[in-house]
């Protein structure tokens, strides 16, 4: 709001009356740039955290050379990638080869547009926020397919086919889990979903979706989001022992960096989404004095961080699934369970929340 006034004032100084629409446009542009910068910095932190947790589980030290506690390791890695040569295979489809990482990273960025970090802290507070996130995450498969096909390499192509099947399969159960949550919340707007978990009682956390009928759905969502982002134990796309490195085996330098960035941004996004859908987003766990003073963004980041820690632990301790086991889990276990839960939740809402 203040930014809109600032732009109107600035253009008046320049002798131009700025219409409200354009002032809004400029202020949104500023917010978008700020959000993108913050996200890229936090990806650097998250990658370091991932490696540190992984190392700690294996009783190693992890990156500890660049900067204090290895804090600048990710920045050093990024710099290294930028100064490498971009190698484009001669048999590849050059336009699609370079378009694929761009598509991945753009999709990873635009998904954050509807993420509410705090009450009112959201770029686009649209009515169908959760549907938008679902749509964008279902698009992320294109980066993988395009990269795999355009590389003109057997390994990359096999990986792309695996990826397409895997991501489409797990999308189904993610969709059903989202339906159960929005049945409970009665809205598709992410801020309203968080507000529906608010309560005035002291034990605020008891009112979060996770401590309700929806608890099994959090587990299904968690495992499905591991599969959706190709995190271990579902990283069959980049199974080193079978496919060298999977769909990005031909990529080097900055295009590879973009894939890496997109992967971790999507992981963060899904952690944030889980904390909004199930853990009450920016709401404090207890409605008593020291907890209510902490700003909502801190609670949101803590929940996001906790879920990311769980994801990193899974990466460190669970062995990779076989492909048929992955498909069996998705279609024969998660799909029927989440479908049953949609029916159960709908019945629960009709019987207990809105009795006729």
């Amino acid at each position: 709001m203040a930014l809109i006034h600032f732009w109107t004032w600035l253009f008046e100084k320049l002798g131009v009356t700025l219409p409200y629409g354009w002032a809004w446009f400029f202020s949104q542009a500023v917010f978008i740039v700020i959000l993108c910068l913050v996200l890229m910095l936090s990806v650097a932190v998250v990658i370091l955290a991932d490696r540190k947790i992984w190392a700690a589980v294996q009783m190693r030290r992890g990156p500890n050379v660049v900067g204090p506690f290895g804090l600048f390791q990710t920045l050093a890695d990024a710099l290294k990638f930028f100064f490498k040569e971009v190698v484009i295979p001669s048999g590849s489809n050059k336009v699609l080869f370079l378009l694929a990482p761009i598509v991945s990273v753009v999709l990873a960025f635009i998904a954050w547009a509807v993420m509410p970090f705090n009450a009112g802290w959201v770029l686009a507070d649209i009515n169908v926020g959760i549907l938008y996130l679902f749509a964008v995450s279902s698009l992320s498969v294109y980066g993988v397919i395009m990269a795999g096909w355009a590389s003109n390499s057997k390994y990359a192509f096999l990986s792309a086919l695996r990826g397409a099947a895997q991501m489409v399969s797990y999308e189904v159960s993610i969709g059903f889990v989202m339906i159960t949550v929005l049945l409970f919340a009665g809205s598709l707007n992410l801020s309203k979903i968080v507000e529906s978990q608010a309560t005035t009682g002291v034990l605020a956390f008891a009112h979060w979706n996770v401590f309700s009928l929806l608890f099994p759905m959090l587990i299904i969502f968690f495992v499905s989001s591991l599969a959706e982002t190709q995190r271990p134990p579902f990283d069959l796309l980049e199974a080193e022992s079978e496919l060298v490195a999977g769909f990005f085996v031909e990529y080097s330098s900055a295009p590879f960096l973009l894939f890496f960035l997109a992967e971790y941004m999507t992981v963060m996004l899904l952690c944030g989404l889980m904390s909004i859908l199930f853990l009450g987003g920016w709401l404090p766990p207890l409605n008593i004095m020291p907890f209510t003073l902490v700003p909502g963004i801190i609670w949101f980041l803590l929940k996001l961080g906790f879920l990311f820690f769980m994801m990193a632990m899974v990466k460190a301790i669970v062995p990779r699934y076989r492909y048929d086991q992955l498909m069996r889990l998705g279609w024969k276990v998660f799909l029927p369970t989440s479908l049953l839960w949609v029916v159960l939740t709908a019945a629960w809402v009709v019987v207990f929340r809105h009795p006729a």
């Binding site: 629409g21 679902f134 749509a135 096909w149």
Partner: protein, 205 residues
Amino acid sequence: MLEALAFYLFSAILIASAIMVIAARNPVHSVLFLILSFFNAAGLFVLLGAEFLGMILVVVYVGAVAVLFLFVVMMLDVDFAELKRGALQYLPFGGLIGLVLVVELIMAGSVWVLQPAALAAKAHATPAGLTNTEALGRILYTDYVYYFQIAGLVLLVAMIGAIVLTLRSRPGVRRQNISVQNARTAAMAVEMVDIKPGQGSEEGA
């Protein structure tokens, strides 16, 4: 101003990519242009205030249907240039169909101009006081719930039919049975044999 700009941007890209779908030489490029045109159509829906339809278009067509298209087109090794060689001879027929569609669209649009009373029946993207998700939900699940259920039943029958048609049981396939695997004990899996020199074991080579 901004809205008009967005409209012309979306529709220009939509039309250009729709032309490229049939003009592109490479079938994979065709599918990718098709996806681009779906995406821009979704953008036009959002501009109309039908954000639910726009998102569903992306989820269903771009996220699921087009992935399968792409999947099939990438795996098929068809010489599409050869197929397209005779495509020009169908141009008059295709043009005729296009003309019929354009005339029908003009007729549908001109009704509002010639008969102002028909404007009252024109569908609104959102009824007053409801978001369009709620409006669609009310139509599907309250006003026409039985028709919706019947439509669902038809789809279910189609799904079961497709599964029955393609299901085949192959004999001799080794499948993993996790409960049997987990129920195995050392006594079942390991056999101790004392093999005498020069005799070999009784079973196997």
